[in-house]
């Protein structure tokens, strides 16, 4: 655990000619379509993992562009119409003086999505190239990406709640903009991208190294 060099002596299911289930850890001695214990489709490694990672990530990137360009919130107040993009919403919160909440939204809607694109791309590239970078660090990065990605949905929920809460009669209304849908899609696509990544491939680099 603390000594990365020890990993050379570890036997994996794949090298022993066995197939380990990624859902429940059951080991199978022959190729089967589904795991005998949990019934999940059984593969030694996720098939076409990197292709799927890149495909979902590109979809996520494409939908992330309109999410930032178009308005997230459309506020009508006494006949005047204000449109707020994601960044605009953060700036408005800061002008209100709510720095803590501005920081939460800034992280959830801007730092996490962009960080996630970079992290997944780095993981996918590190697996594709033969360079062996420390497995534990990359494994930790993968866990963080998997854990934190869903939190980007905050802004979509905020828009939903605001639109439900504030329905002033004629005086003011808040309506969700088209960016809400593209942002939600972008988050979902990047979550699928992260789920398509096979963490076992991080460690396979070590196997290739010492066999």
């Amino acid at each position: 655990m603390e000594n990365a060099r020890r990993t050379g002596r570890i036997l994996t299911a794949a090298r022993a000619g066995l197939i380990g289930c990624a859902g429940c850890g059951r080991v199978h001695d022959r190729p089967l379509s589904h795991c005998l214990r949990c019934g999940r489709p059984l593969h030694a490694r996720k098939p076409h993992s990197l292709q799927r990672v890149w495909a979902w990530m590109i979809a996520g990137l494409i939908t992330y562009i309109p999410a930032n360009v178009y308005p997230m919130l459309i506020t009508r107040n006494f006949g005047k119409e204000y449109e707020n993009t994601i960044v605009g919403g953060v700036i408005e919160l800061m002008n209100h003086g709510s720095y803590g909440v501005a920081l939460i939204v800034f992280f959830a809607s801007i730092v996490i999505p962009i960080g996630k694109f970079i992290a997944i791309a780095y993981l996918a590239l590190s697996v594709q190239s033969a360079v062996v970078i420390r497995g534990h660090g990359r494994q930790r990065l993968y866990e963080v990406v998997e854990f934190i990605g869903r939190w980007s949905m905050i802004d979509v929920f905020v828009v939903a709640i605001l639109a439900a809460l504030v329905q002033f009669d004629f005086a003011a209304t808040i309506n969700p903009g088209i960016a809400a849908i593209s942002f939600a899609l972008s988050v979902a696509f990047t979550m699928l991208s992260a789920q398509s990544f096979d963490p076992k491939s991080i460690w396979d680099a070590y196997e290739a190294d010492d066999t």
């Binding site: 197939i19 289930c21 001695d29 979509v156 709640i161 003011a172």
Partner: protein, 218 residues
């Protein structure tokens, strides 16, 4: 905390049933019973493989049932309610969900409903369905394996706890416009998040899979 021993190379090819492959990094370990309260970690990547607890099944069923009850409460109680002259109050959870119900944004309405209500509830029901017979010491219910696989797959898509943070952010945003008090639904949701987190900590998936397999065979 203990680490499972790696198998001898010749042992591996003989009996795959005595082995566990780490679901994260594929390293083989000898499968052995882990004492209640102890944790078995993968020797290579450090992922917790097994962390059984005494009476965990009963605890999980109780916690999941509590979560489901709170979920229903959260749906029907009013959400944080804004007070200002001339406001029509749209304030239950379902109103928040229906906020996107106009035109192009309609699909988003369904997605929001799924992420904050339908999927978390489905996941809880699947967990109760799988584990309730096990907690009572019965044979697994028909389809229990499929139900628990569903619960495992739904985990990242059940976003009730993220919704809570969304409520807080939304409240801060409207604080300048209207006065807002927190309704019982908000507190039901806070309790829901706490109970769900506790349940996920107690639940050891590998142990449950092994128990399911053993009980089905007996």
């Amino acid at each position: 905390m203990e680490a499972l021993a790696p198998p001898q190379p010749d042992h591996a090819t003989r009996d795959p049933r005595g082995l566990i492959a780490c679901p994260t990094c594929d390293a083989l370990h000898r499968d052995m019973s882990v004492a209640a309260g102890a944790r078995a970690r993968c020797t290579r990547c450090g992922t917790v493989l097994m962390a059984p607890r005494a009476g965990a099944m009963t605890q999980i069923v109780m916690l999941a049932a509590t979560s489901a009850g709170l979920m229903v409460a959260a749906g029907f109680f009013p959400l944080p309610r804004p007070f200002a002259p001339g406001i029509t109050t749209h304030s239950s959870l379902f109103d928040a969900v229906l906020a996107f119900s106009s035109g192009v944004l309609l699909p988003l309405s369904f997605a929001t409903a799924a992420l904050i209500v339908a999927l978390p509830l489905l996941r809880l029901l699947a967990i109760v369905y799988t584990l309730a017979p096990m907690a009572l010491g019965w044979r697994p219910a028909p389809g229990a394996v499929a139900a628990f696989r569903l619960a495992q797959g739904l985990k990242p898509w059940a976003m009730a706890e993220i919704f809570i943070v969304g409520v807080v952010v939304a409240l801060v945003k409207v604080a300048g416009l209207v006065t807002v008090t927190l309704g019982p639904a908000f507190w039901a949701f806070v309790a829901l998040v706490a109970v769900t987190t506790l349940k996920d900590t107690v639940m050891c998936e590998l142990t449950i899979w092994k128990t399911l397999e053993e009980r089905a065979a007996s």
